[in-house]
Amino acid sequence: MNRFPLWARIGALLLALAVFGYAGWRLWASRAPGGVVPVVAADTTQAGMRSMTLYFPDADGERLRSETREMLEQEGLHERVAQLVQALDQGPTRGAVAVLPAGTSVLHAYLDDQGLLTLDLSGAFRQSFSGGARTEELAIGSLVRTLGDNLPEVKRVLLVCGGAPLVSLGGHLPLDQPLDPHDWP
């Protein structure tokens, strides 16, 4: 004689079928590659992932090294520039050195029809800087190389700070002229 009534056995069977059905659906849905390839709801949304190349100095302060970072795609110029500057401010993930003065952020970004990007950075860019000419050279190089590499429309970069012209970051290298990203290897 069975301890459970018929209705209870049918109910348990239906529950088991529901659980296995849900598990099967989850497995089918997750068969797609995960991890490296980002899962975005649908390509009709405007949110995609993009590989960005960031430049940081090596620990010896000799040269810039590139680091690839996966980032959410941004539409506007200001957002794209701000995203890159923020990533530089957060620093590298391995081996290299962060040289962008801490707390630097983008106030405004303007791009003219000749590809000149006028980048207005927050006061922290100048106030938080410390170091010698090597740090200064690599900080500027890190910034303009990163912008030049990820924003093909940017041919030259003019740095200003808090809406005012910036003569120099640390007093060693002039910043009152537009900078060519290619001149900062």
């Binding site: 849905a29 590659p33 490296v36 390509d43 993009r50 010896d60 302060g61 002229q177 290619h182």
Partner: protein, 477 residues
Amino acid sequence: MRRGLALVALTVLLGATPAPVPAPVPVTPAASPGATPAEPAVPAAAGIQSAPVVAIDGVNMVSAQDLARLLDASRFWRADVRKLVLRAPRLRITLTVDTPIAIVDDQTVRLAGSVRSRRGELFVPVSLLTALPRDSSTARLVFDPAALRVRVAPLAGYVGSPFVQTSGGVTRVVFPAERAESADVAGRSRARFRVRVPGAFAGALPDSLPEDGVVRDLRLSPAASGVIFELALAPETANFRILRDNGRVTLEFASVPTPGFERFAAEAPAGPRAVHLIVLDAGHGGIDSGTRVGTAIEKELTLQLARVLAPELERRTGARVVLTRSDDRALTQEARAEAANRARADLVLSLHFDGFPSPGAHGATVFCPPASTSDAARAGYTPLALTTWREVAVQHAVASRTLAEALSGALESHGFGPVRVRERLPVALLGVNAPGILVECSTLTSPDDLTKLLRPAGLRVLASAIADGVVAFQRDE
């Protein structure tokens, strides 16, 4: 049994889905390019982006993530239909897992194999590359079967091997360049004649140079925007010209003055140089302390060094030495430049000490003016390639570079190396009408450098090294 069932149900309901086991797909280094259309071997050039190619089921494949990176494309994954869309500004590629079909913009492309999923990553047959548009809006990708890599062919193209030949008293240096029309002379001195060419160098330098020619040395310097050929020419070389035609650049150097040829930059005659007055510019000062590491403060060290170096230079060179500041005060760059120009300086040394966030950085750096005019003028932002007074120091680029090399050698030999020489106009030389350099004598944030400097005779040894360099420059050694 019931407990196991409940555990599975709980696992599923909490979302910790067991990882799907992918079909066993062997991934091995590609052995032969046979599974893909043959493409010309691409020379490996420095600075070119690339991605590895693997063979999956005998088909050469590149990961979709690498493909997106090389194309500068965004990735959109549709899990419900297992499609990956790569979207670049003027390109859209749709890939479907386990399907040998790709859609490139509106065209359906048959691939050499199916798009495969492996360890959470999609792999695409490299045969897709042949279907990508070949216009300037999209990176040009090529499969290099020899190196088993997919490379981005530089938009500026490639620069090939130079060869040197001599005939009729003219020495010619010829090299192929896809953007020959953009080749430009970056330095006009005989000692360091430099030509900048857009593109990636994919060739080799000649093993030897003709003995009857005027080219004494030929080197290559990488630059992010291309390459720079650097030539050392015989002092008797009279003039030069550059020809750009049909993907080829020809440099012609004549031994006698020739109509239509250009002149070299003015150079000081060889032999001892007249150095009667040297300006020592102690960096920073006043509220500008410069780099500070413990008790070592840059503005104080530069002033101490200037005070030790001044009598050393006067004794060994016979020149008079003027300091831009002799106490702790802030000076504008205009004031420093005016001090040097009023004194009619033959040499200007701006003294600094370096600092870097990492203790691994050490040694010295010498900055000297570049031979070309400002970035703005080069880029065409000014209608005429004028040298502004701000950049007057570039007129002394050749002598400044010689001084930088002399000082570099002296610092190295006294143990202050490694020394880096940078051709970049520093603030300290803006408006300075004389050969000059900015020298970061050592790195205060390096424990070794700091210990060496703070020894009792540390500054004296450093001053002696700098004086050695100035004397070598003066004697043209």
